[in-house]
Amino acid sequence: MKSEPFDQSDGSLRQVLQQWRVETPLPPRFQEGVWRRIELNETRSSSSSSLVSRIVAGIARPSLAASYFVILLLAGVLTGYWQARVSNAHAEQLLSARYVQVVDPYQSLHQTSP
């Protein structure tokens, strides 16, 4: 639906609008409700940005910084240790298979033949 552009210089329209009175009563506690919704929106928008700023500000505290370092250190050591175990198991499997291939000529023949 196309709306007609509002002509502000239209004198008759302005007169009608000035005479217009809203007589329907507002719902109970209308103003309180409006303020509550405004506050809620403000809280929501500020909470995401404040989380980052709270983390940045909190990490500067010695106790939190120390915990952060310890957690990352432990995570690094554990992941490295676990990866090393996987690599070692793989290398051992590879070398044991190689030993068998070296000593058993028939396995070498099976392996090399397509």
């Binding site: 952060y68 000529p105 028939y106």
Partner: protein, 153 residues
């Protein structure tokens, strides 16, 4: 604002360094094995806890066995080629094919006998418990492995 960012980045760098250090320390032994001259023997030494003297003796046995093995491998190749020519020439089990198959079987038996003898020699060089473990493992991977594979094919 500068200090918290430094702490965050420093923590990440520390984590990466910890990972690299733990990985390097954990794979040091397997890296040495892989980079050695005979990685399969280095693995044998580590797996069966061999002393340097035992390892030296086993390396000598291994060398002796492989020098004989090369000759046997050559004979196996020749016999396989002969058998392949015979199989291409006919679609019957001719006396020549029977003879070639018997020769191949005899060659295989000789190979397996020398291999088994080598395993016994190696196992006797190891400490008794490790020798027993080595024999059980190597038999399952070679002689018994072949039987199992043949049965399934």
């Amino acid at each position: 604002m500068k200090a918290p960012v430094l702490i965050l980045v420093g923590g990440l760098v520390l984590g990466v360094l910890a990972y690299a250090g733990a990985y390097r320390a954990g794979t040091a032994s397997s890296c040495c094995m892989v980079e050695s001259k005979t990685p399969e023997l280095a693995w044998l030494q580590q797996e069966f806890h061999l002393s340097d003297a035992e390892f030296k003796r086993i390396s000598e046995l291994h060398e002796q066995y492989l020098s004989g093995c090369a000759e046997r491998c050559h004979q196996i190749d020749l016999k396989n080629q002969e058998l392949a020519h015979l199989l291409e020439a006919t679609n019957n089990v001719s006396p020549e094919i029977q003879r070639a198959l018997a020769d191949a079987a005899q060659l295989r038996a000789q190979c397996q006998s020398s291999m088994l003898q080598h395993f016994y020699d190696v196992s006797r060089t190891m400490p008794p418990e490790q020798g027993k473990r080595y024999l059980a493992w190597v038999r399952s991977k070679t002689l018994l492995h072949d039987t199992h594979a043949t049965m399934h094919h």
